[in-house]
Symmetry: C2
Subunit: 460 residues, 2 copies
């Protein structure tokens, strides 16, 4: 009798939820086991970082990465793999930048700078000028044209160290890098130097995209990042001698747009092939490092989600699609093209989750979705508990999936531990040796787990 | 009227809990702010790691570390700072070890080994013998004396990669290192090689303590760890040629015990000076690296807890004591001496929390205490949530505080993210450059927060 009751309960569970709780737990355990013992992601990232290397949009390396990713996805025996063409900006750094602080004529100290992505070059003889240090655009406005004209504006607002989320600290500073040149040029500055977006004091300049806004070409000025150590040095030297001069020389260049591609692969859904669950990262990176954390990690973790489903023979009910976006770093053209295609084809995305915050120990996800869907997700928290995944918050997703926003789609970003991220971000410190294999694998498994639960239960 | 009701509620909160919830939240915010902006811990660890270095019990460096820690604690203007004498074992590695695999006479490949702590030396001409690979003591027993006698026993059970806690994976393997020589010697083995306790495949051998148990001196055999890459190599070469020979040479030595010290400092409690809240780490380390993670991090985080209280002018109700234990790695003599002193003086410890799991991003604590106290701690979880501290579990504390166990004391261990720990643990990879400043600081702040809550609310 007891057995019959038990059987009835089991059947009830099976019909009402598809699977029992313990079956779901077992599936998640299979996912994490596989990721930690048989994942391809670490070897993939080794190749992408060490054999291909930095892959700025429009570069030869970016094209090599496209071809490599397409072949690897084909090797997973997906239902389809294709390239989505997209025109991308092409900016080239040229020879490495050179800069020094001239405390008195002939008395110079070399410092480490790098051109910001999108910046124009200096004249070939460089620029030498006095420096004016500011911490904000308000300070710039107060100083006004008279005090700024002909000088190098030095934006030196540091990332706020007491914020627990380093991304929040980044958000509080990055306008200096993105808009600094545009703002300073309006007051007649000769060039712009920006303190690197890095919480650590070290010698590495960190690049990143900048914009001249609507500034006419002839009014544009060169923009560079300076390492945090050298920003400290420059600031203290200015305090001693406000008349010191700074020299910088860079010969970066913007070229016409070139053709590139998003790389896309998918496993067709067995029940709702028209509904899409998207996992992704961006294939392009900055040129100074090899882009292992930003965003090689996200690329291989996303590919790994499909590898896990194929290897464990989990046939998804919905279509499971990986999108490796091109040009997140300096244009977002891949994301825009994908969103446009989605709208045109009227494709329905159930979930779009991106990993673009480094390959560190995963802590959870941030979500951009309606409250009902979010509350549904919160009911899954217990499934993640054995894997120390605890962070489930509303508050943004990630750059490449954000354009897919609509009320029917859950947008999400994987949230790894953020403490080390900006030590590496956009600098020559972003290299494969800073990747821990297990942390990388746990990130892929955590994405696969969210995808699995979404596929089984949906958000309705 | 509303104001009066509000005032009454406030007063009620104040009298019943001492402080309102938002006051407590502000204190914790002060603690984390201070740790991330003004902490001494990173500079302390730089000195302890880079200027002092590896500090095995009984070494000159260990004594330098004792003197340094005492002076630094004095510099914090504590109510008292003292040394507790303790006799510790003295084991010296001597010159670096040498080993090779001889696939056929004269045909050798060098491999990386290191003597295990406490091991005897090989004869000065080394030991060359056939190798027998096993994964467990059961396998050893099945093989028996006949097949083992005169051979080198190679314990090659890897750490289990699919466990989320790397400490659990360590527990599942470390008996090979600790008891391997004793077990193999009983069957007449010539020496013991143990696969390094490391989840990564790399070239660094990881040392650690071993024991001969009750084995008479003349039956003891040398024991060494081999790097994981070389363990893989040796295993595959044995599969091809079971007759291959292995050569190892090490000249480590055990000396008579020498005198050393626990370093202790305290701030007297303003209300219950007889009740003690203990924070600690261990001052000794292995000799191969500089002991930055194991356990320089725990030492400076514990010191930092008192620095935070002094700097923020938090006068604790209970006595706040830091204990920097000597000889955790190969004897636990400091911990034993401290526990004995505690018993003799009938001192009452409310909480004893140790950081000895690396200086990585803190995730929470493990506790060893009764259920009532643990349930009280769980009511504090929300205070930690803004700092992403989520792990509060029963299940052990840490080696140096464990001997203080009694029903009135809460024992706890700080639990940082464990994924990278065994890449460094007990090897030349345990160096200061593997420390992230913010992660280290967050660990100290998290200990300080637990101490603060314990001091305010207690467990009763």
């Amino acid at each position: 009798m007891k057995n019959i009751v038990f059987l009835i309960i089991c059947l009830f569970c099976l019909f009402s939820y598809g699977q029992t709780k313990s079956e779901i737990e077992e599936r998640l355990s299979n996912i994490y086991d596989f990721a930690l013992t048989e994942s391809k992601s670490y070897n993939w990232l080794d190749h992408l970082s060490n054999d291909i290397g930095g892959r700025l949009s429009g570069s030869l390396n970016a094209e090599r990465a496209v071809l490599w990713a397409k072949e690897e996805l084909k090797g997973l025996d997906l239902d389809s793999v294709w390239l989505q063409p997209v025109m991308v900006p092409k900016w080239v750094r040229g020879t490495y930048e050179y800069a020094n602080i001239e405390s008195s004529p002939g008395n110079t100290i070399n410092v480490n700078i790098c051109a910001l992505g999108g910046s124009i070059a200096t004249p070939s003889s460089g620029i030498r000028a006095n420096v004016i240090e500011v911490k904000s655009f308000e300070e710039l406005a107060e100083l006004g044209k008279e005090k700024i004209k002909g000088k190098i504006v030095f934006f030196n607002r540091p990332m706020q160290a007491n914020l627990i989320s380093t991304f929040q600290a980044y958000s509080g500073c990055v306008n200096q890098r993105y808009n600094g040149a545009e703002m300073a040029a309006k007051y007649g500055a000769a060039a712009v130097l920006v303190r690197s977006m890095n919480l650590r004091l070290d010698d590495y300049p960190h690049t990143g995209v900048m914009s001249y806004g609507n500034l006419p070409i002839k009014r544009r000025i060169p923009a560079a990042a300076i390492s945090t150590n050298d920003a400290q040095l420059l600031s203290s030297m200015i305090a001693l001698n406000p008349k010191l001069r700074f020299f910088l020389k860079q010969n970066c260049k913007n070229y016409p747009d070139v053709k590139s591609y998003n790389v896309i692969g998918e496993i067709k859904g067995s029940e709702n092939p028209e509904k899409i669950i998207l996992v992704g990262g961006h294939l392009d990176s900055w040129d100074l490092g090899d882009g292992a954390h930003d965003d090689g990690a996200g690329v291989v973790q996303s590919m790994e989600v499909l590898n896990i489903f194929k290897s464990l023979k989990f046939r998804p009910k919905n279509t499971l699609r990986v999108v490796l976006f091109m040009n997140e770093e300096n244009g977002g053209r891949g994301a825009a093209a994908y969103a446009k295609r989605t709208e045109k084809l009227k494709e329905e995305h159930v979930l779009a989750v991106e990993s673009d915050a480094g390959g560190f120990s995963p802590r959870g996800f941030s979500f951009d979705c309606n409250d009902d869907y979010f509350n549904k997700i919160l009911t899954w928290k217990d499934y993640f508990e054995p894997y120390l995944i605890h962070y489930f918050k509303k508050g943004g997703s990630a750059a490449d999936v954000a354009p897919l926003k609509n009320d029917k789609t859950v947008l999400a970003g994987l949230r790894p531990d953020s403490q080390r991220y900006f030590d590496h971000h956009h600098s020559e410190m972003d290299t494969f040796d800073a990747i821990n294999k297990r942390e990388l694998e746990l990130g892929g498994a955590t994405m696969a787990a969210l995808v699995y639960l979404t596929d089984q239960f949906g958000f309705e």
